[in-house]
Subunit: 336 residues, 2 copies
Amino acid sequence: MKTQRRFLATFFFMCLSLAYVIAAQAQADPLPSWKEGPRKTALLNFVSSVTNSQGDQYVAPEERVAVFDNDGTLWAEQPLYFQALYAFDQIKANLDTHPEWKETEPYKSVLNDDLDGIMASGMEGLMKIVGVSHTNISSDAFTAHVSEWLNTARHPETGKRYTQMVYQPMLELLDYLRANDFEVYIVSGGGIDFLRVFAEEIYGVPPQNVVGSTLEARFEMKDGVPTIIKEAEVNLVDDKAGKPVGIYRHIGRRPILAAGNSDGDLQMLQYTTVMRNAEDSTPRFGLIVHHTDAKREYAYDRDSHIGKLDKALDEADARGWVVVDMKKDWSVIYPE
Amino acid sequence: MKTQRRFLATFFFMCLSLAYVIAAQAQADPLPSWKEGPRKTALLNFVSSVTNSQGDQYVAPEERVAVFDNDGTLWAEQPLYFQALYAFDQIKANLDTHPEWKETEPYKSVLNDDLDGIMASGMEGLMKIVGVSHTNISSDAFTAHVSEWLNTARHPETGKRYTQMVYQPMLELLDYLRANDFEVYIVSGGGIDFLRVFAEEIYGVPPQNVVGSTLEARFEMKDGVPTIIKEAEVNLVDDKAGKPVGIYRHIGRRPILAAGNSDGDLQMLQYTTVMRNAEDSTPRFGLIVHHTDAKREYAYDRDSHIGKLDKALDEADARGWVVVDMKKDWSVIYPE
């Protein structure tokens, strides 16, 4: 009898513990790297209201589309877009087969790490630089090259791997949205193929959910093997007014949440959040990541050459977009 | 005691019944409109082998990508692609505002239902016809027009609504694949926006899983409303060698199953099924719908102007593609 009672007591205690663990999990903070305050509260309230099937702000799961810029929103973008650094490194790595680059712009400036010289070569020069590593190459070879680079190259200022320079609070936000049946997409000015090399592993975003700038491509049976060749012409510049076009083309649904950090995201934020007509009452969320932390990351906005944030910052108030202050709102920048 | 025994007997019987129902459901034919035979067996065996986690043919769910052509594969395409019939109807409906069309080709031929005259106008004429209904129009207005047409127009020969001319056996195949964690995409030479109007309701394929021929588009804030305008230039012809490019661009993964019915699907079948190298042992499935049923549908292949099936039919044997004989293999064509 005593044994039985002890057994029952133990069993009862175990049930209580289990219930406690379950309750604690349910209440665990889904955004632990976001400090308490109006931005975190706005995010939590938005997700809570669109997922409450009893409320008047409810949005069906298939309409819960969230789009995220990449450079400066999910990972860092200073001193230059990481994809540009990849292009530079490929030029340096291929110098043996192109000795003439030592005396020819824009390659010469790349070899000398002369950013002013590169900028002076203009769009034409940049296209030449990108062309070396990104065009007239099979998609498989390109993927292999980028993958190797990501596994070996290190950021010139932090010494970290580029994939370590993602923002921990944003990783938490992606997970939080997916846990609430959002479909999360990347919509980036960066190259779609470049992004797809790491988006699934680092962000949990599969290739079909990546929208990016796109080059023309052709298909051919090359020595009997089905092959996609990346060409030199541009198919989509997925930046500024190109972002809503990319969303329309790839997703075919208007998002209810958009996150960006620069004027390149202005039109995506407008497309996502501005009502179409008086009957359009779907709740919508615009998020801007404001780089305010010179110590832990970088501080820049209106005057920056990379990730200039000016018009979108002016429009944020009137549109009700939530502007994240990285210094104040994030307890952690990069994952530990 | 007797009551208790009766209760137990009833409970036992209910459990048995439930087990029986569950077992029966598990064994229910997932492809009831497919007649028993080598084609049905091949499909069942393929799905069974790639989903068997203990077998050496297992494919992880995220790699279970299946791509389907639309015209002639999921719905009928005779006497002309239905989207062309839509374009013709829009010209007829807008004659009031363009009386000059009565005397101008190719519109004159359209108004007279003169297919030879339309064909004689060549690609330039066809682009003019498509231009009237498909370009310089907002995406929202286009969607509304197509939707209204699908709800009212009827096929000139069957008198059915166009969305009733889908193939019941293929609807079952889409469901069967999705039930086995395949991600199903449409990859069509037809217009991406046209397809998206009905693909979700009719096929269960959401907009983001539709790949199709694409026009350029632009984004603008029109009277304060975010608007996508369809333009006249072509961005992607998602046919023949354009299909692998569309798959690469939208999905970013190579499919393991492709289904088509014409030479327009040849390269998609190659891209899906031909091994890349000696180590590439992933099981792959190519399916061709062969139109052999003049009585219940249409019979055509090598000499047809629409849906010509010639090279792909020649290649089917060597590649191991399964050629469905609509007359022999399908007990039903259209849904009842």
